[in-house]
């Protein structure tokens, strides 16, 4: 990059090369300094804060290399001696520069790889939040209330020297730690679980209820995907046939399940059910006894299932289903049974189209007929002509028939009519008569079970309805259990339980309790709804042995379906419930409870402190817990104190790297595996090591280069590596926090909305996140032809074909964009609120992106006139500005870069004309005549000078990784990083791997080494 004088100290260091043998001696250089420099740079007159005369006897180059770098730079640039002073002759120039270059090079070589002064780093606010996120699995963002971190070293907040600790800061750490702890539930089994909401102090009942709730919900969530849903064919018949095969052919259940596509747990449950006699239940016996009574195998057809068995199973299935309402699960007889109380009337409805008679079946529920009298209080029939009371029809029909029979001569069907009259009279006479002689209304039909009462129907009858009550005045009512049913096809067996029919009783009687108990057993075995099946699984919570439910999982069965992780979770949750559901634990249980909590707390501390705990540390953690218990804190609160204590400890807040205790040998100290793991994870993730990295630290394998490299590559692909985009790139390229505050004149640019600002921030984050995680080329930052846009931002940029809120990669070269310089966030950030600033944009490129330094503007700089808001006049004003020599030194280098970006307005929109219609001139011309136009031209120009950018990138990356400023002794590493990038097509990981493998990264200075260097 010949046109640029080498301002940047280190860049010059890295790129320059001088032969050591030819280096002039200090005495020759000192002569030059004396003649040309001391006049202004002496102990009394320290122009620019520089005193060179103090070095007359000894240049102290090691200690004061920064001064000498400055000397070298200013002289090479021609900035010194100043124009009005005596200039150096060529030999003088050569003597001084030769000496300083030689010495600096030698210094760099001699100390190459020096880990450098890295001050112990406190977690930055960002690191604090990321670390808490990884410890708790929640993004609480408490650090936003902390004092903001500054920037140091290479301009990053992760530099130890500028990470302060103060009472106010510690106070905030206390506050945050208390908040974190308040979000935790701490239980013996599941341990420390952080919740999205604050939990706070919990009473015994709350703890128990939450343990219960958690387990209940877990059971249901885990079982749900595997249980039959409402409306599913539950293949009851198939299961029963499979059980039959198992019984008669001894085929293993596993094989049967496989062959028939049945679920093994359900088959196991079915098999247990049909073979069991306990618990007793007459209602369940309808299924299991019927199954046991299925025919035996046909001896002539071994191994075959007789059709009778299949049909029998189907019948049982129908019986089972009859208790439910197939159209609306949960609304069948099974559900209403619990409310049957004999007080209310119960309805019967039946379709009787084309039927001559209906059967009113009054059953005794199969348990004898004592007390079983039904009162049919209403009976309606509907014909095609309309509805009527059955009794009315009966009377009218009898009337008609009597009249018809009475005519002379008798009609041809007189005999039939008489028969019918007799039949109707029979029915009519039954009304108003009570079997036990009690007086009842004449319209009421009282029937003692078991009885099937035939009801002749009118012609064209379509529908029949009856209302019945249990006769509660019956002296035997305490034994009454009755069923009633209207049938149109054939009567039912009223001496047995009528499946699918409600049983009615008087509440609070022994008969009711017994029958309901029986019924419950069946209901539990075959719940009528999906939700009930879920509840059955969740009821394992209270069960000591598996339930009798068929479509259900015991803990063991669930465990077989789920993996070991879920099995452990189940065990842990059961442990929670076990210890918290009982108010009074015995001393042994209490001890176990405490022990379990302490175990979790130790584990948490080991993670938070990023290393194993010493025995003494464990004892102290325990002691704090017991101290809290003594002060009558409940267990959870006492445990929370320990959490707070862990999170305000220097072991958590600082990433301490220790030295060997006694007699540290001179030289570097190798980081131990845990320290290295932390360095690595905070470099790549800005957060703590994860489990895998911790494992590699625990077994020490991380110290092997190949393991370190593998971990690095793995971590770069992890979403957590987005932190590199946000923290490293964001701080280096200064877009971090762009979304927090607008710098734009909102009155002039109302279209620059908060949403747009957030989108622009997101664009930069996405770009760098992909660069890191997809391992793209670092040269894409400047030269990429793509960016990441959503619909809103694409529209703003004028990029077609992007729809929806999602950000995705888009080729944008056609729209004058691509890479960093086409990003709205950067273009806006480097503008004034109401106009563009070629100076700011140029300076950004020059200093931030390319890494050159420009001195601050001299005092009393004349301000650009207001009219300069117009780009054309702005250019003119700036050109005038540069006529001044004091200004031109820097602005000749800066402004042209910014001019090339004039095609973007202050909020980053592409433009060809200014607000008043003036044509935009986006050419930049350097002093040496190099010209470029627009973003494309600028990019081509920068492409030619890519090493400058790469140098800057490497320097920043290294500074970020190490948390310090780069030094001459980093020269070799920086060169190596650049070479590695070149060899690997610029892949981001190449530079990272180089850093991670470096002596600087793997070591820290030991005490004697530091003493020598300071």
């Amino acid at each position: 990059m010949s046109s640029y004088p080498r301002h940047l100290a280190l860049a010059a260091f890295v790129v320059g090369s001088f032969s050591l043998s030819a280096a002039p001696a200090w005495k020759d250089a000192e002569v030059v300094l004396k003649a040309k420099c001391y006049e202004c740079h002496n102990p009394k007159k320290t122009k620019g804060d520089v005193d060179l005369q103090q070095f007359a006897a000894d240049p102290q180059l090691t200690k004061h290399f920064e001064v000498w770098l400055k000397v070298k730079d200013t002289i090479e640039n021609g900035d010194m001696p100043p124009p009005k002073a005596h200039q150096m002759s060529d030999p003088e120039h050569a003597a001084l520069l030769g000496w300083v270059n030689g010495e600096l090079d030698a210094l760099a070589a001699a100390q190459s790889g020096d880990p450098g002064p890295v001050t112990m780093r406190r977690l930055t606010n960002a690191e604090y939040d990321y670390t808490i996120r990884d410890l708790t699995r929640h993004d609480y963002g408490f650090a936003k209330e902390f004092q903001t971190d500054g920037g140091g070293g290479e301009g990053f907040s992760n530099t130890g020297d500028v990470l302060f600790m103060s009472p106010a800061a510690l106070d905030k750490y206390f506050g945050a730690a208390r908040k974190v702890a308040d979000h935790a539930t701490i239980m013996p089994g599941t341990g420390i679980v952080f919740n999205p909401q604050r939990i706070g102090l919990r009473g015994f009942e709350q703890v128990k209820a939450q343990a219960q709730q958690a387990l209940y919900v877990w059971y249901q969530q885990k079982a749900a995907p595997h249980l039959p849903k409402d409306g599913d064919d539950m293949r009851e018949g198939d299961y029963m046939v499979a059980c039959w095969k198992h019984k008669h052919f001894q085929t293993p259940l596993e094989q049967l399940a496989k062959e028939s596509g049945l679920k093994l747990p359900f088959l196991q449950n079915w098999n247990n059910l049909v073979n069991a006699t306990e618990p007793k239940s007459r209602f369940l016996d309808l299924t299991r006894v019927a199954w046991r009574e299925l025919p035996v195998p046909d001896a002539t057809k071994p191994g075959q299932v007789p059709q009778a068995v299949v049909d029998g199973a189907k019948t049982i299935q129908a019986q089972l289903l009859s208790w439910n309402n197939p159209k609306k699960p949960g609304s069948g007889v099974q559900r209403y049974q619990q409310d049957a109380d004999g007080i209310r009337p119960y309805q019967m409805n039946i379709d009787v189209k084309g039927k001559k008679q209906a059967f009113l079946c009054i059953g005794d529920d199969g348990d004898g007929n004592k007390g079983d009298i039904a009162l049919i209080t209403r009976l309606d029939v509907k014909t095609t002509k309309g509805p009527m009371l059955y009794l009315d029809w009966l009377n009218r029909k009898l009337d008609e028939d009597h009249k018809a029979v009475a005519v002379n001569p008798p009609p041809a069907n007189a005999e039939a009519l008489k028969q019918r009259i007799a039949e109707l009279e029979r029915v009519k006479n039954a009304f108003g008569k009570h079997p036990q002689g009690r007086k009842i209304e004449p319209s009421v039909l009282a029937i003692a079970a078991p009885l099937v009462f035939n009801l002749p129907l009118p012609e064209n009858a379509t529908w029949m309805h009856a209302e019945a009550r249990l006769d509660l005045e019956n002296p035997d009512i305490n034994d009454g259990t009755i069923q009633w049913d209207l049938e149109a096809d054939k009567p039912r067996d009223v001496t047995k339980i009528m499946p699918g029919i409600l049983t009615v009783w008087k509440t609070q009687t022994e008969a009711a309790r017994r029958t309901m108990g029986d019924f419950q057993v069946m209901r539990q075995a075959f719940p009528d709804m999906f939700e009930r099946r879920l509840e059955e699984v969740a009821s394992n919570l209270y069960r000591r042995k598996p339930g009798i439910t068929v479509y259900y999982f015991s803990d063991d069965q669930l465990g077989q379906i789920l993996g070991p992780k879920d099995r452990d979770q189940l065990a842990a949750m059961k442990k929670d419930f076990g210890y918290t559901a009982v108010p009074n634990l015995n001393p042994q249980q209490q001890k176990e409870f405490d022990g379990a909590l302490l175990g979790h707390l130790r584990y948490f501390a080991g993670r938070a402190w990023r290393r194993p705990l010493a025995t003494e540390e464990i004892q102290k953690l325990d002691a704090l817990y017991f101290e809290g218990r003594k002060k009558e804190l409940d267990r959870e609160s006492a445990a929370r104190e320990v959490l707070v204590r862990v999170l305000v400890s220097p072991y958590f807040l600082f990433k301490a790297e220790t030295l060997p205790m006694a007699n540290a040998a001179p030289g570097d100290v190798k980081l131990n595996a845990y320290e290295l793991a932390s360095r690595l994870s905070y470099f790549l993730w800005a957060s703590q090591p994860d489990w895998e990295l911790r494992k590699a630290a625990d077994d020490g394998s991380l110290l092997k280069p190949e393991v370190l490299a593998a971990q690095t590559k793995r971590m770069l692909r992890d979403p957590k590596a987005n932190a590199l985009a946000k923290e490293f790139a964001g701080q280096w390229l200064k877009f971090n926090g762009f979304d927090e505050k607008s710098t734009v004149d909102e009155k002039k640019y109302p279209e620059f909305t908060t949403e747009l600002r957030n989108d622009m921030q997101r664009e930069t984050n996405e770009f760098f996140a992909h660069l890191v995680r997809d391992d793209r080329s670092v040269s894409d930052i400047m030269g990429g032809d793509y960016s990441f846009l959503n619909e809103r931002l694409a529209k703003f940029y004028g990029v077609p074909g992007v729809t929806g809120g999602e950000f995705r990669e888009v080729k944008v070269a056609q729209q004058h964009r691509g890479g960093l310089l086409g990003m709205g966030a950067i273009l806006t950030k480097t503008s004034r609120p109401n106009r563009t600033s070629p100076v700011l944009r140029g300076d950004y490129l020059y200093q931030v992106v390319l890494g050159f330094s420009s001195p601050p503007p001299p005092p009393n700089v004349p301000k650009l006139p207001d009219s300069a808001v117009k780009p054309a006049s702005l250019r003119e004003a700036l050109m005038q500005h540069r006529a001044d020599k004091a200004c031109s030194v820097c602005h000749d280098r800066i402004d042209p870069l910014g001019f090339a970006l004039e095609g973007f307005d202050p909020i980053g929109r592409f433009r060809v004309a200014d607000e008043t219609g003036g044509k935009i001139d986006d050419t930049g011309e350097l002093k040496d005549g190099t010209k470029f136009q627009g973003l494309a031209g600028l990019r081509d120009y920068l492409k030619k000078n890519e090493p400058n950018f790469t140098t800057q990138f490497c320097r920043k990356l290294l500074g970020y990784a190490l948390g310090r400023q780069t030094m001459p002794s980093d020269k070799a590493l920086l060169l190596h990083m650049q070479a590695a990038l070149k060899q690997n097509n610029g892949k981001f990981s190449a530079a990272v791997l180089d850093v991670v493998n470096s002596r600087q990264f793997l070591h820290r200075r030991s005490e004697p080494a530091m003493a020598a260097n300071q």
């Binding site: 903001t148 920037g151 704090l624 707070v644 220097p650 004034r832």
Partner: protein
């Protein structure tokens, strides 16, 4: 540049910072016997200088006359002193238009560095080490804007975000969230009790860690150790104060419980709202005697804070300060200055309306308004804008112009010494000054 003396002075700051730990045991007795209202000190700061043509006051036939930017203070004139010509001589050496000037409250040179920052312990922090013995919080350090992450021309931009430094190398952390500031000041201290045993333990942690660290890291850990100890002291102090309060002896603040709502979370959207609520918090802190020392950065240096409520003003403060002698820009700059003075004046008015018995709260206080530059356009720090309101407990007669333009020794630190004296901290010298200004 006299290195040894500078070092000595910086060292003084550290030494002075410590005694309150040692003298803490004497606290109870002192608080009880004092029957008059205490003095309070606040320094309010605005970055980027002032419009030089309209700032200050002149001497008229009937006494001091405010220039335009100070006109909102007219109703409080007899409580206001205007200082002309004071400066920090160290700020005009070396390069840099902004950062080297950020030593308003200590006068010592700002170290040019991007890492190991160093200025000097500031006068407010020295005072608070003394007066903090009597109040739950030693001082309150408020602001409205965060520091920015960057290094610029060899300086870290941290410098532009702090006027208070608790040690020469540690800025006193500034609170910009109203709710946090409120909670810190008005918490009753009860939750602190449980912190005690934790503090002992983490102190052990630090003690165990320290021998394993390098010298450099040990210094960093010392920041932590000091912080832990100070919080421990505060816990004890909170208990003692609550005991003293219940005894009811001695002077008692007129306001006993917060008279304002706990502010909502986050930062108010408008700059005015943010400034007013922070002023109110500072006011309440003084009214309730939760602290006697405050600093408030109404904005950072180099800030581009904007006041959209003012019509016809485009651009942030820093931008406006570079007015280039353009009349329109100068006018906008002036109007922003005046607006800031108006907000400051509202705060003073509320202090004046707070009766503390013999005197009002304002009369018991010393409230300074200053900047690190005079004319922002020229980065001119050859004099600084300094306005002082309040009577210092009957020790300062207001309504006067103090013109030190022609004074050969016009160091701002001399004023600081005078204020420190009134706050009960008697130092022979401070910063770059050897004696107090007579006011």
């Amino acid at each position: 540049m006299n290195l040894s003396r500078r070092k000595f002075l910086r060292g003084t700051g550290v030494a002075l910072g410590l005694p309150w730990f040692e003298s803490i045991s004497s606290f109870g007795a002192e608080a009880v016997k004092n029957n008059t209202a205490p003095r309070r000190l606040a320094v309010c700061f605005t970055g980027n200088g002032v419009n030089p043509h309209h700032w200050g006051a002149t001497q008229g036939p009937a006494g001091m006359e405010f220039m335009k930017s100070l006109s909102p203070l007219e109703p409080l004139k007899k409580h206001v002193s205007v200082f002309k010509g004071l400066w920090n001589p160290t700020t005009v050496e070396g390069e840099g238009g902004h950062y080297p000037k950020m030593n308003v409250l200590c006068g010592l040179k700002v170290k040019k560095t991007t890492t190991d920052v160093e200025v000097g312990t500031t006068m407010d922090q020295l005072i608070s080490a003394q007066t903090g013995k009597f109040t739950p919080m030693p001082s309150v350090v408020l602001g409205t804007e965060r520091p920015s992450y960057s290094t610029d021309s060899g300086f870290t931009s941290i410098y532009s975000a702090y006027i208070s430094w608790s040690t020469p190398t540690t800025p006193a952390p500034k609170e910009i969230f109203p709710q946090q500031a409120f909670d810190q000041l008005f918490d009753d201290g009860s939750k602190r009790k449980r912190d005690k045993s934790i503090l002992d333990l983490v102190l052990d942690d630090a003690g165990a860690l320290k021998p394993k660290l390098s010298q450099r890291d040990k210094q960093k850990l010392d920041e932590y150790l000091t912080s832990v100890r100070e919080i421990e002291q505060r816990v004890e102090l909170a208990e003692k104060i609550s005991q003293a309060e219940t005894k009811g002896a001695g002077w008692q603040p007129t306001v006993k419980v917060p008279t304002m709502q706990r502010p909502g979370a986050g930062i108010p959207t408008s700059a005015e709202d943010h400034l007013r609520i922070m002023f109110d918090i500072m006011l309440l802190a003084f009214q309730m005697d939760r602290t006697r020392v405050a600093t408030f950065m109404m904005n950072n240096d180099l800030s581009n804070m904007r006041f959209p409520s003012l019509d016809g003003i485009s651009g942030g403060i820093h931008e406006l300060s570079h007015h280039a002698n353009d009349e329109h820009r100068l006018d906008m700059y002036q109007r922003v200055n005046q607006h800031q003075v108006k907000l400051w004046g509202e705060f003073l008015g509320k202090m004046q309306a707070t009766n503390e018995g013999e005197r009002t709260l304002l009369e018991n206080s010393m409230i300074m308004l200053t900047s690190s530059l005079f004319d922002g356009n020229a980065h001119d720090s050859r004099q600084l804008p300094v306005v002082l309101a309040g009577g210092g407990g009957g020790t300062i007669q207001g309504g006067r112009l103090h013109d030190h333009s022609a004074d050969p020794n016009r160091k701002l630190c001399r004023l600081h010494i005078a204020l420190m004296d009134r706050m009960g901290l008697h130092v022979g010298h401070f910063g770059d000054a050897e004696n107090a200004l007579v006011i």
